[in-house]
């Protein structure tokens, strides 16, 4: 331990030999902020572009969409993609493109809100488990494991059936399903901080527990939480789409990707592939966009 320890956040530290790493850590003063490193990554830019596209659709969908997504044209049912209907029409003659554009709204409301709820609850629980340790950690750890052992979809169904598939219920239930997962990740990150001397130093300043948890530890586990948030966001998109495919999500006739796939997949055998393919591509592109962003954030934080 003679060489000055190179800071793990310095990008140079991982790419250099042991001795020079320490020296170059000093050279790396004025390293670009993580945000600047992020926007240099093509994967991030692609992911962000796709995500922004769907956010714009979610907000201004009705203005952008070429047709009213609810307007039925009974003379043009099951029309193949053409100049008038780029993505074709569905059995009721509704424009698939317009339904895909407007359908972004429900998923982009429910998935992020649910993830935020899960992250906030999970972070609070994880911080407490990691910081207090002991009996509290033991008991809540076992409860978390028990919850994780249950098939989360079934639980979600159960509650949705019981409480009704409203937007707010979806947000709460998906958020609660995510909570133990996030708590476990945050707890692990807190444990890595626990033995560091800055916490002892804080105790010697007479700081109380909540200040130590939220003022001292939380900022240091933020990167892990951020990564966990984006990972869970990807899953949330998928979960919301799956639930609406199964009929527990947004109810027809409101345009929704999962529900539209569910409504039309029977028509695949008839050769009306566009009614299923385009909403499916929309889900896939959104999930992949979130994953690309997650990956980039993870790499920037790790470097």
């Amino acid at each position: 331990m003679t060489d000055i320890a190179a800071d793990p956040l310095e990008p140079s530290a991982t790419t250099l030999g042991p001795a020079s790493a320490a020296a170059l850590a000093v050279a790396a003063r004025g390293t670009p902020a993580p945000w600047r490193l992020l926007v240099r990554r093509p994967t991030f830019l692609v992911g962000a572009a796709v995500l922004v596209f769907w956010i714009v659709c979610a907000i201004f969908g009705h203005a952008i969409a070429p047709y009213n997504p609810l307007a039925q044209q009974l003379l043009a049912t099951n029309a193949a993609p053409s100049g008038a209907h780029w993505f074709g029409t569905d059995p009721l003659g509704r424009d698939v493109l317009s339904r895909v554009i407007v359908g972004a709204r429900s998923i982009l409301i429910i998935a992020p809100l649910a993830t935020i709820l899960g992250t906030v609850l999970g972070t609070a629980l994880g911080l407490a488990m990691g910081y207090f340790g002991g009996t509290f950690d033991l008991i809540s750890g076992r409860i978390v494991e028990a919850v994780l052992a249950l098939p989360s979809f079934i639980i979600a169904f159960m509650f949705l059936v019981a409480l009704g598939p409203t937007t707010i219920n979806l947000v709460i239930i998906i958020g609660l399903v995510f909570t133990p997962l996030i708590a476990r990740t945050v707890r692990a990150a807190v444990l890595a901080e626990r033995h560091l001397d800055y916490l002892s130093a804080a105790r010697l300043l007479g700081e109380n527990r909540s200040r130590i948890m939220f003022g001292e530890i939380l900022p240091n586990v933020m990167p892990a939480i951020l990564v966990e948030f984006t990972v869970r966001l990807g899953y949330a998109v998928f979960t919301v789409a799956t639930l609406s495919f199964l009929g527990f999500g947004v109810q027809p006739p409101t345009p929704d990707w999962g529900a539209d796939i569910a409504a039309n997949y029977g028509n695949l055998t008839a050769g009306y592939w566009w009614q299923v393919l385009f909403p499916a591509l929309a889900i896939a592109s959104l999930v992949i966009a979130v994953i690309l962003i997650t990956d980039s954030i993870e790499q920037v934080l790790a470097s």
Binding site: A5, L16, A22, G206
Partner: protein
């Protein structure tokens, strides 16, 4: 030197790292050679390029590094132009390397025996032969029970034992060149001494040439015939080790040596010198001499034209135009202590020693700490009695596992001691939990941790870090807080521009200054310094030690100074406590303890530490590891390793009491002081004339 007599020759070696699209020169124009059977030391601070040099020799540079100029010849072979097969062969048979962390050099999932045997198998032996050779090799590195060690996994070995196993592997093929990169830095002083002795013995036995890389000048002085001093990627001075250290001829070497407390130096009489400025970052464009920006002797010529190597004597070279004036390099820090508080007042700050300074500030009685339950627990501290006098510096020494840090944490209320332990401050018993201690007590006891990276919250700014104790403990706010903050950062020699920065943007020395400022923020009475400089370079360490000494004078604090570096402890401490397995073995005024007679354990610690001031006269060696605190030896806990154990069996059966043998000097040993004096004087007598 003819080719046949040279094991390694390096000439005009440049190494470049490519970082973010830019080439950075980490090593430039490095030339040296090592003769057969010779031991050559490369010494330098972190970032000087020591390890880069070692890696470059056998082409182990990371993927973004390359040798951009120069040649290397090992045994007449050129590793830089070899094909992969020949290179593998060279690494397998001709060159061996030993690194700082033995734990990382061994494969954690293979038994030690198999790993060593593998080396012999690669050399062409059959399985059984290889196994036997491995056992023999382990015996050669003085592992007494090789069979048992061979069946172990690396994590089951102690650091010293693992490093021996690595050395055994390195020497298995009788390499002609052995590269040792900080081989003992991660080890305790007593273990370090054993490993260094071992390397020296094996070197003569195997006739191996050694390239020894270390930041520790004393270790290099002890181990090497010749030495090269590396600074910012350049070799600035070269020559026989003894001569270079006794009579340095480059301003950097001169400065570096002045940073180290030498025999006889004390904080109240001598200040350490420091080197101004910082080492340039690798790859920074430099014209002229690399050291010129920090050199008091530099003239215009130095800043424009790079000096060549000047021949100082037959065997010595120095890369300095003014190598003749170098020994008279003007000091950066005045040698005398500034009499800040004028006469008397300054002394009362603690510099004057312990006597007459107003009695005990902190008293510890019957302090025990058992980790992990009362039955099968590990007794980290066992009945420690101790007092800290107002204004003194109490040095706490001992090997790792002796309980130094636990003692500090108990004092601070970070670790609760066992029932019945008493810690008082101003004769008031303290709560075992810092959370229950009232604010004045928290104010009074603060700590500077060993590793500032761990001690400073990396998400907070310097301003936030230093302001917090001012508001929490000193109760300041608004303008008063800002004034005190300005005062505080000035007193630890930080600048305003550092305030908005986060720890990762600061160098190690600056980080430690922030940590010191935080400790002093509340106006403490006792500051625990837990190895505050062990993570720092020598030149940075000197500045921090000076700062601590100055702060003691101005802020009138008492220090509990924990360190494994006896030189530092001697320089700073007024009194010394020696801990072994959680027990106090010796306490006394610093000079008395150092002058001896000592407790045999203290004696062993002292003789284990290599010194720049020549070989210590008496040398007793501890063998074996520090016993487990979970199962301490009977009687005197030190008897298993004690070279002076009494033949009567008393040491094994009865724990000796801690007796006051002289005024203020307590020793826990069955051997009376007078007898210790006789033994220790007799042994040191023959060689005493040789030193100093």
């Amino acid at each position: 030197m003819s080719e046949d007599n040279t094991a390694l020759s390096v000439s005009h070696l440049d190494v470049t790292y490519r970082v973010r699209g830019q080439d950075r020169l980490a090593l430039r124009d490095v030339s040296f050679s090592i003769g057969r059977g010779e031991s050559y030391g490369l010494v330098g601070e972190s970032g000087s390029g020591k390890s880069t040099a070692a890696l470059a020799l056998v082409r182990y540079l990371p993927s973004n590094g390359r040798v951009s100029a120069g040649t290397v010849s090992i045994n007449g072979l050129d590793p830089l132009s070899m094909g992969p097969g020949a290179l593998r062969d060279l690494r397998a048979r001709t060159v061996s390397m030993v690194y700082q962390e033995p734990g990382r050099a061994l494969n954690p999932s293979l038994r030690v025996g198999r790993q060593i045997a593998e080396v012999f198998q690669i050399a062409g032996q059959s399985g059984d032969d290889a196994r036997q050779s491995a056992e023999q090799m382990l015996r050669k590195v003085q592992i007494s029970d090789p069979g048992r060690v061979m069946r172990r996994y690396p994590h089951e070995l102690s650091g010293g034992m693992a490093q021996r196993a690595v050395i055994a592997m390195a020497l298995a093929v009788s390499p002609s060149l052995l590269i040792l990169d900080e081989p003992t830095t991660a080890l305790d002083a007593t273990v370090e001494a054993e490993v260094l002795d071992l390397v020296a013995a094996l070197r003569s036995e195997f006739q191996t040439s050694v390239l020894f890389i270390s930041h520790n000048l004393a270790v290099i002085a002890k181990m090497c015939d010749r030495v090269g001093v590396l600074y910012a990627g350049e070799l600035v001075e070269q020559g026989p080790a003894r001569e270079v250290f006794d009579n340095p001829r480059h301003p950097y070497t001169v400065g570096l040596l002045r940073c180290i407390p030498r025999r006889g130096q004390r904080k109240d009489t001598d200040r350490l010198d420091t080197i101004p400025g910082f080492q340039p970052t690798p790859g920074q464009a430099m014209t002229g001499c690399v050291f010129a920006p920090r050199c008091a002797l530099a003239r215009d010529k130095c800043r424009t034209v790079e000096p060549p190597f000047f021949r100082v004597s037959d065997l010595r070279t120095s890369r300095c135009y003014f190598h003749e004036q170098a020994p008279d390099l003007p000091r950066n820090t005045p040698a005398s202590i500034p009499s800040a508080g004028a006469d008397g007042a300054g002394l009362a700050g603690g510099a004057g020693g312990a006597d007459g300074l107003g009695g005990s500030l902190v008293v510890v009685e019957g302090l025990s700490k058992t980790f992990g339950g009362p039955r099968a627990g590990v007794r980290a501290l066992a009945g420690v009695d101790l007092s800290i006098q107002r204004g003194e510096t109490l040095g706490l020494v001992g090997e790792s596992g002796s309980g130094k840090t636990t003692l500090a944490r108990v004092l601070l209320g970070l670790t609760a001691p066992d029932q019945g332990s008493v810690v008082t401050l101003h004769d008031t018993p303290l709560s075992p939990d810092a959370r229950r201690r009232p604010r004045p007590v928290l104010r009074a006891l603060q700590i500077v941790f060993q590793n500032p990276d761990s001690a400073l919250n990396r998400r907070h700014t310097v301003r936030a870090l230093i302001s917090r104790p001012l508001s929490r403990l000193a109760g300041l706010s608004g303008q008063a807080l800002r004034d005190r903050l300005a005062e505080l950062i000035a007193s630890v020699r930080l600048e305003d521009r550092h305030l908005p920065l986060r720890p990762s943007q600061l160098s190690g020395g600056l980080k430690q200054r922030v940590a010191i400022a935080r400790a002093f923020g509340g106006g403490p009475e006792v500051v625990v310094c837990d190895e505050p400089t062990s993570a720092l370079d020598v030149s940075v360490q000197a500045a921090i030690l000076n700062l601590l000494a100055d702060l003691q004078t101005t802020e009138r604090v008492t220090y509990l100074f924990i360190s494994h570096d006896l030189g530092l402890v001697r320089y700073l401490s007024d009194r010394i406590v020696v801990l072994y397995l959680g027990r106090v073995m010796e306490v006394g005024p610093s000079e008395t303890v150092f002058a001896g007679p000592h407790h045999p354990y203290t004696e062993a610690l002292f003789s284990a530490v290599p010194s720049l001031d020549g070989e210590r006269p008496s040398r007793i060696r501890l063998t074996g590891e520090i016993p487990s605190a979970a199962d301490p030896p009977s009687g005197c806990v030190f008897h298993t390793r004690c070279p002076r154990r009494l033949p009567t069996g008393m040491c094994e059966s009865t724990e000796p009491p801690l007796l006051e043998e002289e005024t203020g000097h307590l020793i826990r040993c069955h051997i009376p002081l007078s007898e210790l004096r006789t033994i220790q004087r007799n042994e040191s007598a023959p060689s005493q004339g040789g030193s100093s």
